[in-house]
């Protein structure tokens, strides 16, 4: 008797779970499908008139620089965090995690507080002749800030998973620490590096709030594609739709390339 009741409940729960899952899928799929369905060819022309190419170029160049900064600075950070277990390392790890949970607008205000004209380091920067806010450099800084955790933390985990005995063996066989890093650690962490880079890059490409607050909305200098979409929406929704589609396609292509198996095996030499 009890068994039948339990089976009944299981059945109800399973149906509820199915309905819930389906609802969420619809919620995700519907807007994207609608975006494609409501697009008109004339929208694309309007979008070009409203600076689509300029904004797309800025988005691509700034995120490429941001991604390069992530790889060049984030990889050593991930490596050193993985190799130490001190209390300081855990504190730094929390700090790196922070941008992932910081609302973008808050990040923008924080960046202004640090590097803005009236910010803590604004005067020193001004003396050096550097004015960060409302420059392309500010766009890149905002992108690096928000994307860093998505790159550094998974890579740190990947580095930590590598068998330490294997690395010492390699050293004992005559390899310098540098050689061990580039021939063993980095290739073994390459799948995580690439997927972290894909997500970090996508996050940078979509950056809006922090960029708007910290870098502003200057076409050609700080108006990235997401900000251009926001600006275009003040008029008609048409050009914004076209820009949105372009941004979506670019983000998807980027993700597919970075997550592709051939790239991973080429860089990681793993099968």
């Amino acid at each position: 008797m009890t068994r039948t009741v339990e089976a009944g409940w299981t059945r109800v729960l399973r149906s509820l779970a199915r309905v819930g899952a389906a609802l969420l899928l619809v919620l995700i799929a519907l807007p994207i499908v609608s975006l494609a369905l409501t697009l008109r060819v004339s929208d694309l022309g309007d979008a070009v008139e409203r600076g689509l190419w300029q904004a797309l170029t800025l988005s691509l160049t700034s995120t490429t620089v941001a991604a390069a900064v992530l790889v060049l600075l984030g990889t050593p950070l991930a490596w050193s965090l993985a190799r130490t277990s001190s209390r300081w390392a855990r504190a730094i790890e929390m700090l790196v995690r922070l941008p992932a949970v910081t609302p973008p607008a808050v990040a923008g205000v924080a960046l202004l507080a640090a590097f803005g004209r009236q910010g803590l380091f604004g005067d020193s920067l001004a003396e050096l002749g550097v004015a960060l806010p409302f420059s392309t450099a500010a766009v890149i800084i905002a992108q690096v800030f928000v994307a860093a955790p998505f790159y550094v933390l998974p890579l740190q985990d990947a580095f930590r998973e590598i068998d330490e005995d294997m690395l010492w063996t390699a050293r004992s066989l005559g390899a310098s620490p540098t050689r061990v890093f580039f021939r063993i650690s980095l290739p073994l962490a390459m799948p995580s590096l690439l997927s972290g880079l894909a997500i970090g890059w996508a996050r940078a490409l979509g950056e809006f709030g922090a960029t708007l607050v910290f870098a502003g909305n200057l076409p050609g200098t700080t108006q990235t594609l997401p900000i251009a979409i926001y600006t275009a929406m003040e008029g008609d929704l048409g050009p914004a739709r076209a820009m949105a589609i372009v941004l979506l396609v670019v983000a998807m292509l980027l993700f597919l390339v970075l997550r592709s198996k051939p790239l991973a095996s080429m860089l990681g030499r793993s099968r």
């Binding site: 010492w168 390699a170 004992s172 005559g174 310098s176 030499r269």
Partner: protein
């Protein structure tokens, strides 16, 4: 070529204190947590001792003023898990350890080392595509490729299934005597010691409880552990030895 160790190593709750001179193949035995692997790791420089010195064939690797990095010690380490590089083929694993020569020379030399172990036909395989014994051979070929002056083998047969063990043990014994290199070989199995070792070094709780030739140790075991260990040894030995009696060092 002799290895002189005089070390104090702190690792977690363990304090390892060793002062020994080894020649030939020395089997390092002892209960779990006695400091066997710690000793090997200190030898290659993966752990920095509190104090002490390591002299290998008259060359000082470590003392108060010297601390050579692992790559300059010329000690090839084969850890318990073998430490094969999973993203490289067997051949590439061996090539990695060649220190000198053009890339073609390195490949040729690595190929020759694999051939000696009858592994040529598996050179392009990746470690996960090899059996335990085959992986073992790749690890040995790789260790030799580095032109070491000392070999450190940590439980070299532990990963093998019981049926493969005796053959690999035989193979390893012949291989070790052919290379002629001094070696420290950590093992749990008295059968290994009989097969490989000139000398036995027994560690208990971070200290050397006894060392000497197998026969010496078997005849005069210094501790209960050594007695239990060597009882097994004598059973396996074909020749007859007097029955062991426990001789404590204070007596």
């Amino acid at each position: 070529m002799s290895l002189e160790l005089d070390l104090t190593v702190k690792q977690g709750t363990l304090t390892l204190e060793v002062e020994v001179e080894c020649e030939g193949v020395t089997a390092v035995m002892g209960p779990n947590g006695a400091g066997k692997t710690t000793l090997l790791r200190a030898c290659i420089g993966a752990i920095t001792p509190e104090r002490g010195s390591i002299v290998l064939g008259g060359r000082t690797l470590l003392d108060r003023n010297t601390n050579l990095p692992p790559e300059d010690r010329h000690i090839a380490y084969v850890p318990q898990g073998l430490g094969l590089f999973p993203h490289m083929s067997a051949l590439e694993n061996v090539v990695f350890a060649r220190r000198r020569g053009s890339s073609a020379q390195k490949r040729a030399e690595a190929g020759r080392l694999l051939e000696e172990l009858e592994m040529s036909h598996l050179a392009e395989r990746f470690p996960r595509e090899l059996s335990g014994g085959e992986q073992q051979k790749v690890a040995l070929a790789r260790a030799m490729a580095a032109d070491p002056e000392l070999l450190l083998l940590d439980e070299p047969l532990s990963a093998l299934d019981p049926t493969a063990k005796p053959r690999m043990r035989r193979f390893l014994a012949i291989w070790l005597s052919e290379t002629g290199l001094p070696a420290l070989l950590v093992t749990h199995d008295p059968a290994d010691a009989v097969e490989f070792a000139d000398d036995l070094l027994v560690l208990e709780d971070g200290r050397v409880s006894q060392r000497g030739t197998l026969d010496d140790v078997a005849v005069r075991p210094a501790t209960e552990f050594v007695a239990a260990l060597t009882a097994g040894l004598i059973e396996r030995r074909p020749r007859t030895l007097p029955p062991p009696s426990v001789v404590s060092e204070d007596e």
